[in-house]
């Protein structure tokens, strides 16, 4: 099959659109789930500010289970849920659900790791001020860990971009899928090169922003 640029450009923009849509929505929702998840893993652990073995163990296992299931199987496993949420198990929007299931626990772990690095003195300070657990989290833990959190989230969003390439399995489309369907499966080197370049630029951009913000916050 011949390669045709006139076919390619609209296709590329469509895919780019899909990718950005998936990343944006999936990342946003994953943040909304993953950050509280990571926070909960930190505060409920042994000697955390709201130590609670049951909650910790439960979440720890849930995260582990989700993190251990291969993505494609995860997609299948949650089809009923996907259908419930977006009305279909096929298409870009439907792909967002498994992407969230993949990314949220991932963010949870990364956030957990970042928050655990916050100095014990910070929590002491907060407690001495009579801060509520909510305030400890929002006013102390998160701001103090922010620099590391940003790098963690950068890692997560890049991981998410990688995962969107697999969203093609349920008709999610996107630039990664374009690369695989045409660049890889159909050997259209031009597609492969262009899509990979776009992905590299995207990742490079995100990483640069992450590095910049993180460094600015760290101030060193």
């Amino acid at each position: 099959m011949e390669f045709s640029w006139s076919w390619f450009w609209p296709e590329l923009f469509g895919s780019l659109n899909e990718t950005l849509y998936m990343i944006f929505v999936a990342f946003l929702i994953s943040l909304l789930i993953g950050i509280p998840l990571g926070i909960t893993l930190v505060i409920t652990r042994d000697q955390g500010i709201l130590a609670n073995k049951t909650v910790f163990n439960l979440l720890n296992i849930v995260v582990n289970v989700l993190r251990s299931i291969p993505f494609i199987i995860l997609i299948v496993a949650i089809i009923p849920l996907t259908r419930l949420i977006v009305g279909t198990s096929i298409g870009t929007t439907a792909a967002i659900v498994p992407l969230v299931f993949y990314t949220a626990p991932y963010i949870g772990r990364l956030v957990e790791n970042s928050l655990l690095e916050v100095d014990q003195g910070t929590i002491e300070l907060a407690e001495s001020m009579g801060a509520t657990p909510w305030q400890i989290i929002w006013k102390f833990l998160l701001p103090e860990a922010l620099s590391s959190l940003i790098l963690s989230l950068t890692i997560a969003i890049i991981g998410l971009i990688g995962a969107t390439a697999m969203a093609g399995a349920v008709g999610g489309g996107g630039i990664g899928d374009l690369a695989i369907s045409y660049g890889y499966n159909q050997f259209q080197t031009e597609v492969m090169v262009v899509t990979v370049i776009i992905l590299v630029i995207m990742v490079q951009l995100i990483q640069s922003i992450g590095n910049y913000l993180s460094k600015k916050i760290r101030r060193s």
Partner: protein, 344 residues
Amino acid sequence: MLRLEGIRKLYGEDGDNPVEALKNINLEVKRGEIYGVVGYSGAGKSSLIRCVNLLEKPTAGRVIVNGKDLTKLPAKDLRTERKKIGMVFQQFNLLHSKTAFGNVAMPLILEGYSKEAIHDKVMKLLSFVGLADKADHYPEQLSGGQKQRIGIARALATDPHVLLCDEATSALDPDTTNAVLDLLKQVRDEMGITILLITHEMNVIRDICDKVAVIDGGMIVEQGTTINLFTSPQTDIAKSFVRTVLNDALPEATWKNILEKGSSNSVYRILYKGESANSPLLSNIAKKFSVDVNVIHGTITTIQGQPFGNIIIEFIGDSREVNIVVKYVQEQNTTIREVAADGI
């Protein structure tokens, strides 16, 4: 206002070698009192003060602040009480992610003050501690003493009823220390704040504390009013602390000098306090007796408004006459005793 009853603190309870940092501590601080705690490094001072706001959960004992036993309070009530207890940390515990302003503003933000109220209050506090121009600096751009001052300003931000100071002036130069102590006194006088203060600087105790406890090996070995501790310390450790300010040990060089002159047996320490300090004792001796009086060492000062003297004098003259002088001094209700070989 603040009472510790039978406080015990064991660290590393479940480990191999637990450390018993506090053993049966009993201590009471009245409203508006400034109470000092001194002791050697590792004596348990920080552990004690951290038990007051339950940053360290005591292994046993009760912590009663404002009539409430904090150890028995549910989490929510404990938070309410903690809001009324300001704390200056030995290691500052500043938030790296916040500027000097942001650090001081923190407790006010938690309380939900308005933006303007916060700004006014914080800038006032920063000016107080001489750091108004550093408001926008982050902790790592501040010197050690500046960090400590931020910690002090922060602890005072919400007008607490109780203030816990763990070595709040240890990184400060004398002038800044005085400014901080004046501020604390002022806060106490104006708002009746109760202050529990850890320090190893006896001049801080002298200048500001009403009462003092000396802690050693996790136990209070001596406590009482500041003037009493200074004028008649009982334990060796208290004496050694007092000495740092009152300078009552004869320096080795001086002592050697005296020994060389062979006059060691006419070296006496005189301690006088209160009214007696105002009568010209030395002058009287010189006038009344045929001995010369040479002050070789000592301090005459005022502790908590009362004059106090602790001096070492050499009597130059006939030893019998000296004995008469010693008796005369004793009759003036003043302590006099021969100085021992170690200069104490």
